[in-house]
Symmetry: C2
Subunit: 464 residues, 2 copies
């Protein structure tokens, strides 16, 4: 149907956002619970592996084992490649080493590594022993690189040809060697030491007469990926140079693998998503995480926040006497601290994002600090005027209005400065600014919000 | 050098994160300011267009015009395609219609549209008049589709071949028609009505003997993109099905364009980034935005937040008498409201992300609400125990400890429930949950934080 635009696909099972319809999920699970495996398989068999993977994510944890058994061989390597990592880990835990090895053998190196990299050392060793020597060597090599590095993301299956070949020679090689991968968009031209000297898009090969030397078709200006580069940097490099695939090289500049853009799309989505949840103190925040892990991650940050909240409260404590004499200050003080927190979070989000996308660099930091301060001043004056006038009129107390207005301006400036300075300084120390900035910024706006408002009120003689 | 892995590139100008070195930027700008255009051009000419675009973003606004004039024809269409939209808009504003048209004519339809879509109607019409008829027709057609839709993202340059061709026929066609695009990774097979019937990766064509019919090589199961689909949905579809390119079809299911993954990579980065900054109330939060726009966007949300802060303060106002008698309550109350805010933000970030990536659907919403409530209970009990014991001991007042502990549990539950219910309900109303959820969640945690703590304190007879 044209509405979803998927032709020849089982689209009635998908809603307009490509998500499985709840009624379909219910039907499958009902069949599984009724032990009607034939019905479950019939319903599920037209699904794309990505949708079948979604089905597992939408299935309550306690039913996933039964669903796996019911579907049998429909749950193949392609489905495993698409599964959420937490769901996959849980499913892998229930399988024996031979079953895991059978699936890993079907996958490209990068997907096989993703499947077994988080297993216990013993279980991982058992799976590796069950693999044939070639697959084992490839996976062991990948596991020797750091987690989240290019070495883990790359696949070893790629096409590399020598410099002296022609276009025709290359095409014949591809036609005659049916065991080669079909999953490639560019080929790499290498020197005798297997160092890449050029990259050639398939469209250029197709559009060039057979007799032309491959070195006359290839692009010499290449973007190479060092095997130990962090996946976030790999993703930025793919994005910046609009790459479809890229050669991965080792320390001796030899070609050791290839990364394709479809793997990078997942990395970008993942890294950008992590920034949102980390900024909030929810870690990687995946809804498929085991709940114990979620509680531990979030609670850790909440306890750190509790510490800063106690510090902020102790600032209020300094003015307990003033508050006892003039309790209205306690009513109004959360407005100043809260608004500072909001303004600080705005700046923080923008800055964290600009750092993650390499838009904010040491070349423009100073300019951006002044930009944030100008914004903070404009917003602080507007909000200060608004709340100051309101408070002055409502309580018939112009001094109180002046105090809260001035505190609002001060706290907006604190928020703007902390919102950019904290993440930039953390980034310079190679600390992920998304993980830890919010605590410091909120502490700054809470402490300075209470201090400026209650301090100015005391100075102005309110509550005497 | 192997460190950055860019061979045959001017890498000494880039740091290890592929960013232009500050010293290089300073040198270029010094040359420009000294009117030494030759020196500036010499420095800049080895740069990749993406790096040249970065240079403009790193240059202070007031110098960008001078830089453009100094670099002359080095600032070509490829650079414009890579520029940040705000910087590009500002540069386009300083050019006349013919200059803009010359650059637009060099670009693929999607990049040309991105360049002129935000121009004033008059200026846009002048540019369109200055284009040759073919380019004008293509761009006008694209502009007829909604903003941020597939029709704006797609390029019209693509390869489509009829069903009756062979592989050899296809290769000859590509070799003999040198005006065809070289920027493609798949070809589309179409029926006589120009409806796509299959897609064929170039690697399959290269690996198949010439005599084989193209319909035996192509994949019939296609993922088609309706021309009016929103770009965020297009991006999710690319990601879900690991697409490199996809055919775009109109209402009659005819092939009208092609979207390639390199454009989608930008969309994913952009949409994920928007969720972070929108969640904070900073709109699209681009550091290159005109400052007036930034102030307006942020101030709007701050004023909405001011409204909710006043509501929360009025809840405190209900207990002004209690506070006057027992000012310690005012010292402690921000802890309860602040911690609720933190917990609510954690849940909110995770839920917004899960909604944006289609992980949270109506099939698992109920299960996820219970998941969040269990997490909230675990965290609330832990934090309540901690702060309750601490307060009870420090102030030698067990009742006060009990009150703050209980309030902490209540407010964590409120935070968990609001953190998932608010974004899910907004999403069902087709409101972007990233834009407006935080205000409601913070209001809930502030109001309920103050109300539960001060209310329980009053009930317990504190401050009598």
């Amino acid at each position: 149907m044209s509405e979803t635009g998927l032709s020849d696909r089982p689209e009635t099972q998908l809603d307009e956002d490509d998500r499985l319809r709840p009624a379909f999920v219910r039907d499958v699970l009902a069949a599984v619970e009724a032990r009607d495996d034939a019905r479950a398989r019939e319903l599920v068999s037209p699904l794309h592996p990505a949708d079948l993977a979604d089905l597992f994510e939408l299935t309550p944890r306690e039913l996933r084992g039964t669903l796996t058994r019911a579907l049998g061989d429909l749950v193949d390597a392609d489905v495993f490649a698409e599964l959420n990592e937490h769901v996959r880990e849980e499913m892998v835990d229930t399988m024996n080493a031979t079953q895991v090895a059978d699936i890993a053998a079907e996958l490209d190196t990068d997907d096989a590594v993703a499947m077994i990299e988080d297993m216990e050392a013993d279980d991982q060793a058992a799976v590796l022993r069950a693999l044939d020597p070639d697959d084992r060597a490839a996976i062991e090599a990948a596991l020797s690189y750091p987690e989240e590095s290019a070495g883990r993301l790359m696949q070893r299956e790629l096409i590399a040809v020598p410099e002296h070949w022609t276009v025709g020679h290359t095409i014949d090689y591809l036609r005659e060697n049916q065991e080669l991968t079909t999953d490639f968009w560019e080929i790499f031209v290498v020197d005798p030491a297997h160092r890449p000297v050029g990259t050639c898009a398939l469209s250029w090969i197709l559009r060039t007469p057979r007799g032309v030397p491959i070195v006359d078709v290839m692009k010499r200006e290449q973007t190479l990926i060092p095997v130990d580069m962090d996946q976030e940097e790999v993703a930025l490099r793919f994005q910046k140079y609009a790459l479809i695939s890229a050669a991965v090289t080792d320390d001796s500049e030899r070609l050791v693998g290839m990364i394709t853009v479809d793997d990078i799309v997942h990395v970008i989505q993942e890294e950008a998503g992590e920034d949102i949840t980390r900024l909030s103190g929810a870690g990687d925040g995946d809804i498929n995480e085991p709940i114990g892990l979620t509680v531990r991650t979030r609670l850790t940050w909440l306890i750190v926040n509790l510490g800063t909240a106690v510090i902020a409260a102790s600032v209020v404590g300094l003015f307990e006497g003033t508050i006892a004499r003039f309790a209205l200050l306690a009513v109004l003080m959360p407005i100043v601290s809260g608004m500072g927190g909001n303004a600080g979070t705005q700046t923080l989000a923008v800055v964290v994002r600009a750092l993650a996308t390499n838009q904010l660099t040491s070349s423009n930091t100073v300019r951006m600090v002044f930009r944030e301060l100008r914004i903070a001043l404009a917003n602080g004056l507007s909000l200060g005027l608004l709340i100051g006038t309101g408070v002055g009129l409502v309580y018939g107390n112009p001094t109180l209005g002046l105090v809260i207005g001035a505190a609002m301006v001060i706290n907006n400036l604190v928020a703007g400065l902390a919102g950019i300075a904290v993440p930039v300084l953390l980034d310079r120390q190679d600390v992920d600014p998304a993980v830890s900035s919010a605590v410091f910024v909120t502490m700054a706006t809470d402490v300075m919000g209470f201090f400026s408002f209650l301090g100015l009120a005391t100075l102005a003689g309110l509550g005497q």
